[in-house]
């Protein structure tokens, strides 16, 4: 016996039902700082055991190359970030290797303010996009915390309302850092002669890149704390469950033999924007919605099977 059109429609319905299961979200490839929700006060002490509760995310750092007075290499090649919140306050801990403790050692966090996207380099103006300002949480070893704002180079200023606290501790302890090491060498033939590109005549350069793990003595742990929201319009405001952008900067304030600071001003180690996500409080209604979906799916399944059985070909 031939299949009825009703059966064909039922099959299409089944295909769509199973097809719905195929719709999976696009997995993001970016890394985010995961901000764990805790009960009680967030730690303000960089050595607090509470930091063990926070997952650590490591970000490679680059020399600031975006603007003039750029720098070729930096002391801090990567930074580990941990973060905790208690639904009222949020605390970030930056941990990075720096062999020397210096008065001008400094670190900073940067956030976009408001809905408009801001360029990671101090919220500088963009040609085709109207950007917004940035909020910078700055800490320097000899001056402490500063809650700052910027919207373009040369506009950095300390805010009238200071909402952040920061504390840094340098420990003379060993830590391991990982970074990429690149070596360039001129290719030579067995006779020791330089090999040249047959097209251009240029010497052929070989490049070797490897990840190096190095033990360094000296670690900075810097903790920034603030309430999730403030009354200051110049501040970034945070809501658990959302994905605000965050960028990092670090200065090695070591003085060279000539008395110049190794890194200062725009000469610093930076990252561009990443994300962070403050874990929202538990919402048990999602279990209920899941249960409702099970019941609905079982109901649809029951109806389809009954229809199939009634009109089933023999």
């Amino acid at each position: 016996m031939m299949m009825s059109h009703r059966h064909a429609l039922l099959t299409v319905a089944l295909v769509f039902s199973f097809g719905w299961l195929f719709v999976v979200p696009v997995f993001a490839e970016d890394v985010a700082v995961r901000v764990k929700l805790i009960q009680g006060e967030v730690p303000t002490d960089p050595l607090s055991a509470d930091w063990n509760k926070a997952p650590s995310t490591e970000f490679p750092m680059s020399p600031q190359v975006h603007w003039q007075q750029r720098i070729g290499s930096v002391t801090v090649k990567s930074i580990k970030v941990r973060c905790l919140h208690n639904n009222k306050q949020i605390a970030f801990m930056l941990e990075y290797a720096d062999p020397t403790q210096d008065p001008a050692d400094a670190a900073a966090l940067e956030f976009m303010v408001g809905e408009k996207k801001a360029h990671f380099a101090h919220g500088q103006p963009m040609a085709q996009v109207q950007g917004g300002p940035v909020n910078i949480w700055y800490w320097r070893n000899n001056t402490g915390a500063a809650d700052m704002s910027a919207m373009g180079f040369g506009t950095l200023k300390k805010q009238a309302q200071q909402d952040i606290q920061a504390k840094g501790i340098w420990k003379d302890e060993k830590t391991k850092i990982k970074f990429k090491e690149r070596k360039l060498s001129l290719r030579k033939d067995p006779k020791g002669e330089l090999v040249k590109d047959p097209k251009t005549g240029d010497p052929v350069v070989d490049e070797e890149t490897k990840v190096v793990e190095q033990e360094v003595t000296g670690v900075w742990r810097v903790v920034f704390t603030r309430t999730l929201t403030t009354t200051d319009k110049e501040d970034a405001q945070f809501q658990p469950g959302t994905f605000p952008n965050i960028a990092f900067a670090v200065w090695d304030g070591h003085k060279s033999d000539t008395g110049d600071l190794k890194e200062s001003g725009s000469q610093k180690a930076v990252t561009s924007w990443w994300y962070f996500n403050a874990e929202p409080p538990a919402d048990y209604s999602i279990y209920l919605y899941g249960l409702v979906a099970v019941v609905l799916a079982a109901g649809v399944e029951f109806v389809i099977i009954r229809k199939v059985q009634k009109g089933s070909p023999t």
Binding site: P25, Q68, H119, M126, G131, A293, V294, A297, I305
Partner: protein
């Protein structure tokens, strides 16, 4: 024939999956799973449409499925499989609903356009600098001084200053970058930098300097010649 069309459909689905998941990455970038699922879904729709073109084919495709669902005339392992499917389906729907609602700590996906359209004044510009060995050599010198810290001495985006930037600096050796572009496009990107990008290019994330502040147009055109010479590509042209 009854079961053969159903089996052929299943084999086709498996084959499509294997080709998309493991075959394509041999030639191009791996496809995201969401896209693979979408293709499988479309293939399934195609199988259903093909299988229901006539009464015979409809019976051949759907008969085994309906007999499985209705439970008529089946026994043994097939009966057990039917119960398992009927139990698992609602549970899978429930799980999918739960996982869709549970707060995710994965950052949102970003649909950044790698090569957004340039402003009109930068379209079709010809390189005014003669492509001579001397000029290319000069360009390589400028590239080495200004660009190689990020884009790498071998033009592969692997410079020592590249690690902290997201997105990473462009790899000019890759066939998907400057080989696809005209010189005028590179002139725009170098001159105006990351902040010159339109919104779909996510200018707020780009570390590319606005080189017009520091370099003359002449230097930028020479750098472009060096990038093509160093990467082994030729600029795209209108011809």
């Amino acid at each position: 024939m009854g079961s053969s069309l159903t089996i052929k459909g299943g084999v086709l689905l498996v084959a499509v999956f294997l080709v998309l998941k493991f075959g394509l990455p041999l030639f191009t970038a791996p496809l995201p799973m969401s896209l693979i699922w979408l293709y499988l879904f479309l293939t399934t729709i195609g199988i259903v449409v093909f299988g229901t073109l006539s009464g015979h084919s409809t019976e051949a495709l759907l008969g085994p499925i309906f007999r499985f669902l209705s439970g008529e005339g089946i026994g043994g392992a097939t009966k057990f499989a039917r119960v398992a499917v009927l139990v698992l389906f609602p549970l899978l729907v429930g799980w999918q609903t739960y996982s869709g609602l549970v707060p995710s700590s994965e950052p949102p996906s970003e649909n950044r356009t790698i090569h957004p359209a340039p402003p009109g004044e930068f379209v079709g510009l010809a390189n005014p600098v003669a492509n001579t060995p001397e000029n290319v050599m000069q360009g390589k010198g400028f590239f080495s001084a200004f660009c190689s810290p990020c884009h790498g001495a071998k033009f592969n985006g692997n410079g020592p200053a590249s690690d902290g930037f997201n997105p990473p600096p462009a790899n000019f050796v890759d066939a998907g970058t400057i080989a696809q572009l005209q010189e005028s496009y590179l002139f725009w990107r170098i001159k105006k930098g990351g902040v010159g990008l339109p919104v779909e290019g996510h200018p707020w994330k780009s570390a590319m300097p606005r080189w017009e502040v520091e370099l003359s147009d002449d230097m930028i055109w020479k750098i472009i010649m060096a990038e093509y010479a160093g990467s082994g590509h030729k600029p795209r042209t209108w011809e």
